[in-house]
């Protein structure tokens, strides 16, 4: 069962180690049902750590976001580890980064927190509108209990959990140096119902659906910035020579942008749902990503972010890969 005191204890021990630079976790946000990423480097700071249904952020993003400053001549690079709290889905991001050699195993210390599903801000805010104070939450059996200013309210998990959590198959970290508490039972299964629904339509219907969504995109690139798998130092979207995707905000360029973003995640997306969560105009990006995840699973029996020893999908091949559409 979730035991935050034990988590704090482990965090204190970890941060006291000489070979750990800082620890990335969550703390209560400043208002509403939010948790904020928390970077701590002293044992005292562990008091503020939380682990609750509010901890939606995928902290694995920060492993590759850290600024790499040039090392002055005559100095050794800082080779201390970064400690990271992970949920099941976050741990898959860590594994996939290891597979792609985006990070090295010696530089990261993974603290696994088996998770019972995190909330969807939008669902909760619809249920409890106009809550200004910071509200904490805990799992309790099949409910999530919110400690609202007017008293605690228990809500069934099904009603407030994020969509990705309802079909979650990896609630337990797939990679961890320490697992804080015992593993939880897997409750979800995934048949890609949402993807199949859209596939069933005609091309015109599908384009009608996406055209509307893509047209509303304002190209803030939040989806790219928050994605734990988008860590290229030279992103194709930022390049000007050659410029494959123009910066103008219109349906044509937005479509090209979304195709490029989705395709760059083909065989890499670990379905943490962060892109969809941060989208200010509610584009169902996971519906796009999950299409490719589904194809990758069906065609190549490949699942990203599960096996640290695997090879990246698009950097490997099998001579007998399917080619039924090739003339």
């Amino acid at each position: 069962m979730v035991n935050v005191d034990k988590l704090k204890e482990i965090a204190r021990e970890t941060i006291s180690r000489d070979d750990v630079k800082y620890l990335i976790g969550w703390r209560q946000g400043t208002y509403g049902f939010r948790a904020a990423p928390y970077f701590m480097s002293t044992p005292e700071e562990a008091e503020e750590l939380i682990f609750s249904p509010l901890c939606t952020n995928n902290l694995a993003t920060y492993l590759t976001l850290a600024e790499k400053l040039p090392v002055p001549r005559g100095q050794e690079p800082d080779s201390r580890k970064v400690a990271l709290l992970v949920k099941g889905c976050d741990s898959r991001a860590v594994v996939q980064q290891l597979v792609e050699q985006g990070i090295s195993r010696e530089r990261v210390l993974v603290i696994g927190c088996p998770c019972r599903g995190v909330i969807d801000q939008k669902k909760v805010e619809a249920k409890f509108p106009d809550v200004r104070e910071a509200v904490s939450a805990v799992w309790d059996g099949d409910t999530v209990v919110f400690n609202l200013p007017g008293g605690s309210v228990a809500v069934p998990r099904q009603e407030v959990l994020a969509g990705k959590c309802l079909t979650c198959r990896y609630p337990n970290p797939v990679i961890a140096d320490v697992t804080v508490w015992e593993e939880v039972a897997v409750w979800g299964s995934d048949d890609y119902v949402d993807v199949r629904e859209l596939e069933a339509g005609s091309p015109q219907q599908r384009w009608g659906f996406w055209e509307e969504k893509f047209a509303s995109c304002m190209r803030c690139y939040s989806c790219r910035n928050v994605c734990p798998m988008c860590y290229c130092e030279d992103c194709v979207l930022d390049r000007l020579n050659p410029q494959w995707i123009m910066r103008s905000v219109n349906t044509a360029e937005n479509t090209a942008f979304h195709l490029a973003r989705a395709f760059h995640l083909a065989g890499r997306c670990i379905e943490c749902g962060e892109c969809e969560r941060v989208c200010p105009v509610d584009i169902p990006l996971m519906k796009l990503n999950r299409k490719l995840t589904k194809e990758v699973r069906d065609k190549y029996a490949y699942e990203p972010g599960v096996d640290p020893e695997a090879k990246p999908l698009q950097a490997s091949y099998r001579p007998d890969d399917k080619e039924d559409f090739i003339l």
């Binding site: 979304h258 490029a260 091949y317 099998r318 001579p319 890969d321 090739i326 003339l327």
Partner: protein
């Protein structure tokens, strides 16, 4: 003048097989549709999926990527990577509503002039059936 729609097809041909195959078809005086705009690349594995999206944006009604038969790649394995890549890209394009006939891939070796003729016929026919592409065509910029 005929008013029938003539599609604009962009073909990325690999230098070692498909381009030579198309060349053979030409030197053998084979007749095939002239809707193709050929771009020679060194290997089908060199074709970035963004090229395909970009071609569609800039005026293509259909795209063809053609390379050596699996196992015959000049660079040993380039077309195997291309195969995975474009299988996924095709699914993605279809999923956002691009008609399935618009993106094609083929294996044509340097000795298959006759096959090249069939491939071009097939690709042109499919693009013609799908009609002019206008879903995410880039707006013309008048400088």
């Amino acid at each position: 003048m005929s008013t029938e729609f003539e599609p604009n097809v962009v073909a990325f041909l690999c230098n070692w097989c498909s381009y030579a195959g198309a060349d053979l078809a030409g030197t053998s005086r084979t007749h095939y549709p002239s809707n193709l705009n050929v771009i020679r690349v060194m290997c089908s594995g060199r074709v970035n999926p963004l090229y395909v999206v970009n071609a569609l944006q800039q005026g293509a009604d259909g795209v063809l990527v053609s390379g050596c038969h699996p196992g015959d790649c000049h660079y040993m394995e380039g077309n195997f990577y291309a195969r995975r890549r474009f299988t996924l890209l095709r699914e993605l394009l279809e999923y956002v509503g691009v008609e399935p006939g618009r993106f094609n891939m083929s294996w044509v070796s340097a000795s298959e002039g006759a096959k090249w003729k069939d491939v071009v016929g097939e690709v042109t026919k499919k693009a013609k059936e799908a009609g002019p592409f206008k879903q995410f065509r880039r707006a013309k910029i008048n400088w």
